[in-house]
């Protein structure tokens, strides 16, 4: 028999709709099996909450509007330990408030999804305008040594697909996954074709057999749910494989935190997803992600039509940083151009993997790059002479 969810969602099977990136992400969550959403509306992420509030009750799920973003992620984490697949969605100011609980989710190995539809900051900034300024916050916003997974969609179709992927990665590695959308992609509409509900791959939660510990033993240990027949202890403090607190033994902390990092670092190649488009003779490469990858790709294709060989690398996975792909690009070209809607956050990361000049092409203020702006930068630097376009301030 069809579940309520199957019968509701199969109505979308193979249909093409004209949707916002935000709406597509919400449907991606529903297709991935999300049955709990707690959040606090904020531009430009509110449409995600809007769809979830409408759809979750129809698919046997729960929508809770919380008093703030701290409580939102708390509720999500609690729901996961009670057996749900859970998500929240926010933008910069709310993402800042969530940082402590992101650390808690990392430490307790709670699989969940946090969508950050980035807007122009710091603080309330330009509330309705897009940016890519939270990229490093996603990596290092919460305190202590840790790893994180973050993905960045470049189209409405990808908002759907990468939300599904975020849920799957969260379950596979028992870690919060951040979908780093931006206000541009979240608030633009284009065609999206839904897959058949039955064709969507869903990673199911691995639960521990009796007597198997939920916080050690293997790099990604199986979970135990509250209320399902055993005592478990879930704490953000340093704990042993059993989950019981031990905050004074050096080796316990070292073992725990290195395992939490290792489970992601060792799987970097498996997690990393990029779009690589290299051509013979390229002296310059363009590296972009999220909304900015759209005009970047347009500029690369136009430059090639004009006879200029240019490599293109789009990061789909932002964290863990796809360093092998970046090294491959760095080995091929003399100059890497990095357009982004911030003052050079990923450009700085790229610099770690190449001795060649990395040229940030930064644009802030809530207006995305145009193809011509990126094309001009390719033309000015395409000879490999290493002249600069956008010095970091």
């Amino acid at each position: 028999m069809m579940t309520q969810r199957q019968s509701r969602l199969s109505g979308f099977d193979n249909r093409t709709l004209f949707l916002l990136g935000d709406e597509a992400a919400a449907y991606g969550a529903l297709y991935a099996g999300c049955d709990f959403f707690a959040g606090y509306p904020i531009t430009p992420a509110s449409e995600i909450a809007e769809v979830m509030s409408r759809e979750l009750p129809r698919v046997d799920g729960y929508y809770v509007q919380m008093e703030d973003e701290i409580a939102s992620l708390s509720a999500v984490i609690g729901a996961v330990w009670a057996g749900a697949k859970a998500m929240t969605a926010t933008s910069g100011p709310g993402f800042s408030l969530m940082q402590e609980n992101i650390g808690y989710a990392i430490m307790t190995e709670t699989p969940c999804v946090i969508i950050d539809v980035q807007r122009s900051g710091p603080s309330t900034g330009q509330a309705t305008k897009p940016a890519q300024g939270d990229v490093l916050q996603a990596r290092w916003g919460t305190h202590g040594d840790h790893e994180i997974i973050a993905l960045a969609p470049s189209s409405v179709q990808e908002c759907f697909e990468l939300t599904v992927e975020s849920f799957n990665l969260a379950e596979k590695y028992r870690i919060p996954v951040i979908l780093l959308m931006d206000g541009e992609i979240g608030h633009l509409r284009e065609s999206i074709t839904f897959p058949a509900y039955e064709d969507v791959a869903r990673e199911e939660r691995r639960l521990a057999e009796p007597e198997v510990e939920s916080f050690g033993g293997e790099d990604v240990p199986p979970m135990s749910h509250f209320g399902e027949g055993r005592f478990i202890h879930v704490t953000g403090s340093t704990h042993k494989a059993s989950g019981m607190r031990d905050v004074s033994t050096q080796a316990v902390h070292e073992d725990l935190v290195t395992r939490l990092c290792r489970k992601i670092v060792d799987a970097c190649a498996e997690i990393s997803s990029v779009e690589e488009d290299f051509v013979d003779g390229a002296k310059i490469g363009v590296l972009a992600y999220g909304a900015t990858a759209r005009p970047a790709r347009g500029a690369v294709l136009e430059a090639r039509r004009a006879g200029c060989a240019v490599d293109f690398l789009r990061l789909i996975t932002i964290w863990p940083f796809p360093e092998e792909a970046v090294k491959r690009l760095a080995d091929r070209v003399d100059t890497i151009l990095v357009p982004e809607m911030n003052l050079g956050q990923i450009a700085r990361e790229v610099e770690r993997f190449t001795a060649a000049p990395v040229l940030p092409l930064s644009k802030i203020g809530g207006v995305p790059h145009t193809i011509d702006e990126i094309l001009d930068a390719i033309r000015a630097n395409g000879s490999g002479s290493g002249s600069t376009v956008g010095q970091r301030p």
């Binding site: 093409t16 004209f18 531009t43 509330a127 309705t128 305008k129 541009e184 608030h187 633009l188 509409r189 284009e190 065609s191 909304a291 759209r294 005009p295 790709r297 347009g298 500029a299 294709l301 207006v367 995305p368 790059h369 145009t370 193809i371 011509d372």
Partner: protein
């Protein structure tokens, strides 16, 4: 084809852009629609851009416009420089003063006044405007637009929206009422 709808929040600017985008998809084309507005729910500057193409769309913010639809003086003043020399200008006649004119191919309609007098609802102005644009600009088909409107207006208002669209279309074609 890059078209910008612009005016105040509350004039149906974003909905107009959305309906245009849906119509383009119905016509089998690629479409990308963006929106930009202030933090105010009404009265702030608002615009919605639609890019329509046969091919994959890479541009997010059209640097040059083929069509500018301005429903406020502020929008006209702000976006006129982005309109191509051979572009088309479509104006809400009662709300935009072009002084000596911009030199563009220009069409004017008192959409808000017509909506108020003919349908008793100023909120229908954007449907009158969509019909008017449809008659002038060959970007999307009339069938596609009508289908997009009927799919996206509140239940029970389909007929009035359809009539408002037809009124704008008739005026755009210069047909007698």
């Amino acid at each position: 084809m890059n078209i910008r709808f612009s005016g105040f929040g509350g004039q149906g600017i974003v909905l107009s852009g959305y309906i245009f985008g849906v119509a383009a998809v119905f016509d089998g084309k690629q479409a990308l629609q963006t929106q930009s507005y202030g933090s105010e729910s009404r009265g702030g500057g608002c615009r919605s851009d639609v890019i329509i193409s046969e091919d994959e769309i890479f541009e997010l913010a059209p640097p040059r416009l083929d069509v500018l639809v301005a429903l406020s003086q502020a929008a006209y003043d702000a976006y006129l420089p982005a309109l191509r020399e051979d572009g088309t200008l479509i104006l809400e006649d009662d709300l935009v003063d072009t002084g000596n004119g911009s030199g563009h191919r220009t069409f004017r309609i008192k959409a808000t006044d017509i909506a108020h007098k003919k349908f008793g609802r100023k909120i229908m102005a954007n449907m009158v405007m969509l019909g008017f644009i449809c008659a002038i600009v060959e970007a999307v088909s009339r069938e596609g637009l009508e289908r997009a409107i009927l799919d996206n207006v509140p239940k029970g208002t389909e007929e009035m929206n359809q009539q408002a669209f037809e009124e704008g279309y008739r005026i755009g074609k210069g047909e007698p009422g």
